[in-house]
């Protein structure tokens, strides 16, 4: 039952997955453009300052790509179920929880494709430059973080998309309205209740999401391909 679901998901998403895989492979190569010299060319050694400064520009693209990939995989996982009103799934001789787990596992397996592409790109990129003393390359760690971030984004959207469109809309809108409201009402509430003066709910919410043990913590760590 797992293989057919993987195959169906692959057929659904392969066109969308290709640009992600290409981007994941190219990103590490692009980020070291103009920085290095072929290994062994000691006279043209990679300058550490240039490397650390230039690579910083590319850092935000890695988590962005991971998030976009996770969202694409999650939405494509449920796309044809929603289109066909779940008739196919209901006709299968397995309980829903097994169906959902296998579907989720299929999507997670597909996340490996761009992650492996990024790993290959990062290995190639770091092998193509000679690093100066004191700097180190982290292709495997970067690829692992990319995979983990993709899986979290995928799981989050998968859970939302598993419900109805109405549920998803309510959850997303509810969170957005909450953040906006607490931002707007912070000052008046602090005037009425001085004890709330030091409480920033919007900030607290954001920190809860992006700091450990929040679900998005993996997005906020280091994404360096080359660092000390």
């Amino acid at each position: 039952m797992y293989e057919p679901l993987l195959f169906i998901h692959w057929k659904q998403v392969r066109i969308a997955l290709l640009p992600f895989a290409v981007a994941a492979f190219a990103l590490p190569l692009l980020s070291i453009q103009g920085l290095g010299a072929p290994p062994g060319a000691s006279g043209l050694a990679l300058d550490a300052y240039r490397a650390s400064a230039a690579l910083e520009i590319w850092l935000p693209l890695y988590p962005t790509l991971a998030a976009a990939l996770g969202v694409t995989l999650a939405l494509s996982a449920w796309n044809w179920d929603h289109q066909l009103k779940h008739v196919h799934a209901l006709s299968l001789p397995i309980p829903r929880w097994q169906y959902v787990l296998r579907k989720m596992a299929a999507g997670a397996a597909l996340a490996l494709v761009p992650a492996l592409a990024l790993w290959a790109g990062a290995l190639l990129a770091t092998a193509s430059v000679s690093l100066p003393e004191g700097l180190h390359a982290y292709p495997t760690q970067l690829a692992l973080r990319f995979l983990l971030a993709t899986l979290v984004a995928y799981a989050l959207l998968f859970a939302l998309a598993a419900g109805t469109v109405r549920t998803t809309t309510v959850v997303v809108l509810g969170l957005t309205v909450f953040v906006i409201l607490v931002g707007l009402l912070a000052a008046p509430l602090a005037t009425l209740f001085p004890t709330l003066d030091r409480v920033n709910l919007a900030q607290w919410l954001m920190e809860s999401l992006v700091e450990a043990p929040g679900p998005l913590e993996v997005f906020t760590g280091t994404w360096s391909l080359i660092d000390v």
């Binding site: 300052y49 859970a159 598993a162 913590e217 760590g221 360096s224």
Partner: protein
């Protein structure tokens, strides 16, 4: 307009001008008289104002004396090495543990200090709002009760180190290093600086050239060291990495801008001019944290009395003072410093294992939530 009418207008204007001319000195005289009267009146108010200020100062002093003379709660005075610590009785055991722990790291290095004897340390690590009152110069070591022990211990080390730094201010070391005398809090930053600042001195130091390390650390640095720090190609990169300072005078800012116009005529001299003009600890390839680490390494290596030797001769050059304190040669001292820096190399992906565990946890949580959909339940 008829000739008669024109004549009348001209005569009127002349009359008005004459009246104004006559009235102006009179008005001015009247105004200045009024101003003088006002100033005289203000003068008469000044003694009253002076007396009021004096009374206010006396009242404030009396209030403070009263507060100091009659503390609201009993206080204990503890002697910890050369330190005099005042705290509340219920905090005494904490003070002995925290301040004593901080002093243990310094006790061998300092055998006598005028400033440590002059100053009192007040200690308060509690949720209750209480003020420790002392009648001499003091330095507070305070933290709320919910602050972890590391915070209050750090505060204690910082406070003691700040008083020791006062001792150092009369020496030539002040031109080279500033700040509290304590173990560096972030040696990993020194490693990052050593590895990434565009300086051939740093690169050579990283590769094991101890003389280059000593040059980069720059005890007794001056502008003549600039070529030993940076090559002409490295200077613009270094200037770009420094960034503009808000309070720099216009010539320094202009030199920086000119320096960053790479390839333009006059750019290279502008870089050298800029690096020579800014403070040596900014221009140097290794900054204040690296210097403080070298100072700490010297004090640790010197053992008993190392701080005393460091500040013994106010006129001693920085390099000599460091060597006197450590009892080592420049090469040995730099070698120890370099070992500590290399050992402090930050682990860039140190938290990845925990992040992986957390990510997998949330993956499972969201997966479980996906199982809970009501979509397939029969109506």
């Amino acid at each position: 307009m008829s000739r008669a009418r024109r004549g009348a207008v001209a005569a009127g204007l002349c009359l008005a001008a004459a009246l104004l001319a006559a009235a102006s000195p009179l008005a001015a005289r009247q105004q200045s008289a009024a101003e003088r009267a006002l100033v005289q009146h203000l003068d008469t108010l000044l003694p009253i104002l002076r007396e009021a200020r004096l009374q206010a100062d006396r009242a404030a002093a009396a209030r403070e004396l009263l507060l100091r003379a009659r503390p609201t709660e009993t206080q204990d005075t503890l002697a910890i090495g050369l330190l005099r610590v005042v705290t509340f009785p219920d905090q005494a055991h904490l003070a002995r543990s925290v301040v004593g722990g901080a002093w243990d790291g310094l006790s061998g290095m300092v055998t006598e200090s005028r400033y440590l004897r002059e100053f009192t340390f007040t200690f308060h690590w509690s949720s209750r709002k209480r003020t420790v009152v002392v009648d001499r110069p003091y330095r507070s070591i305070e933290a709320p009760v919910w602050a972890p022990p590391g915070i209050i211990e750090g505060n204690a080390r910082e406070a003691i180190g700040a008083i020791l730094f006062m001792e150092m201010q009369r020496t030539r070391l002040l031109q080279w290093v500033r700040g509290s005398i304590r173990a560096p809090l972030h040696p990993e930053r020194v490693y990052r600086e050593l590895a990434t600042v565009p300086s051939h001195a740093n690169r050579a130091c990283m590769a094991g050239d101890l003389d280059a390390c000593w040059t980069a650390l720059g005890p007794g640095a001056d502008s003549t060291r600039l070529p030993r720090w940076y090559s002409p190609e490295e200077m613009p990169l270094r200037v770009a990495s420094i960034g503009p300072g808000r309070w720099w005078p216009a010539p320094i800012l202009a030199a920086r801008l000119k320096c960053l116009e790479r390839g333009s005529p006059g750019s290279q001299p502008a870089c050298a001019r800029f690096l020579a003009a800014v403070a040596p600890e900014i221009a140097a390839p290794l900054g204040m944290e690296a210097r403080r680490l070298l100072l700490w390494v010297a004090l640790e290596a010197g053992g008993p009395g190392s701080f005393d030797r460091l500040v013994a001769d106010p006129g001693m050059p920085t390099a000599d003072a460091l060597l006197a304190a450590s009892g080592l040669s420049a090469e040995e001292l730099t070698s120890r410093w370099r070992e500590q820096v290399l050992a402090a190399r930050p682990d860039t992906y140190s938290g990845l294992g925990a992040s992986a565990g957390l990510a997998l946890f949330w993956f499972l949580v969201f997966g479980a939530l996906a199982l809970r959909s009501t979509r397939w339940r029969p109506a």
